[in-house]
Symmetry: C2
Subunit: 147 residues, 2 copies
């Protein structure tokens, strides 16, 4: 069951400048940064609020590490903006299978590793009214370490 | 101070079909519907979680009521997808003025009425790394009535 808006993924050309925009304009601070070589992104997570399921909602700022990554191609076509939205669940495996059984294309056979050690998968935007949609199960140990 | 992701605004061609997609796929239920003639939209709010500031996070599904509305024009150009993101604050007036003073274009001189009696304004996407960004102060009475 999806129990929170986990994050909004925003693609940008320059991660440092975009982080600085969010800090200077709104006071949002960087909670975590990492490079995900498989996804071809360098990212910063800005924690906005905690959520009633014990998780949190973040902005995820994404800069491609290579032009031929999914985010790199998307940026070349669309320019900066919202790239995807993500819902949090305690059971990404079960939810992904249930959603696949409803005829929505799930992009990975099995969940892969996302931000902060989470396990993630994506749903095809053409099956989701134009919205690239991610499902996320957080890594409890990493969450604990940050709190 | 912005204290939550208040909602993600998603533009769609057919509100009823899109509501049904979110219900059938994820189990999300409609919390509220309304028509905002000034904005030229018919909308459904799906409540996803409550937030640590005492508010909540929603998906806001938006169907234009006329082709020449902002959302209607956006849909004609972009197709269905994420139209804007919104941050919640207790003081949309003060935050909008502070952000305007930093050189970010605020689209309204004074906040206008948004979903569920809230007061809202928007920041120019070209000043926000491509993201149309809304600031929202909820209507306490309406929120109480729904809880």
């Amino acid at each position: 069951m999806l129990t929170r808006i986990d994050h909004i993924g925003i693609a940008c050309f320059d991660l440092d400048k975009t982080v600085e925009f969010y800090r200077a304009t709104y006071g949002f601070e960087v909670f975590h940064t990492e490079v995900n070589e498989e996804q071809g992104v360098r990212e910063a997570m800005l924690k906005i609020n905690e959520t009633s399921d014990g998780g949190a909602s973040y902005l995820q700022l994404l800069e491609p590490t290579r032009e031929d990554s999914a985010v790199g191609k998307w940026l070349a076509k669309n320019g900066e903006g919202v790239h995807h939205i993500a819902f949090g669940t305690a059971d990404v495996d079960g939810d992904a299978e249930a959603i696949r059984a409803k005829g929505v294309r799930v992009l990975y056979d099995q969940p892969r590793i996302g931000s902060m050690g989470s396990r993630i998968t994506f749903l095809h935007p053409k099956d989701c009214h134009g919205v690239l949609t991610e499902l996320v199960t957080g890594n409890p140990e990493q969450s604990t370490a940050h709190h």
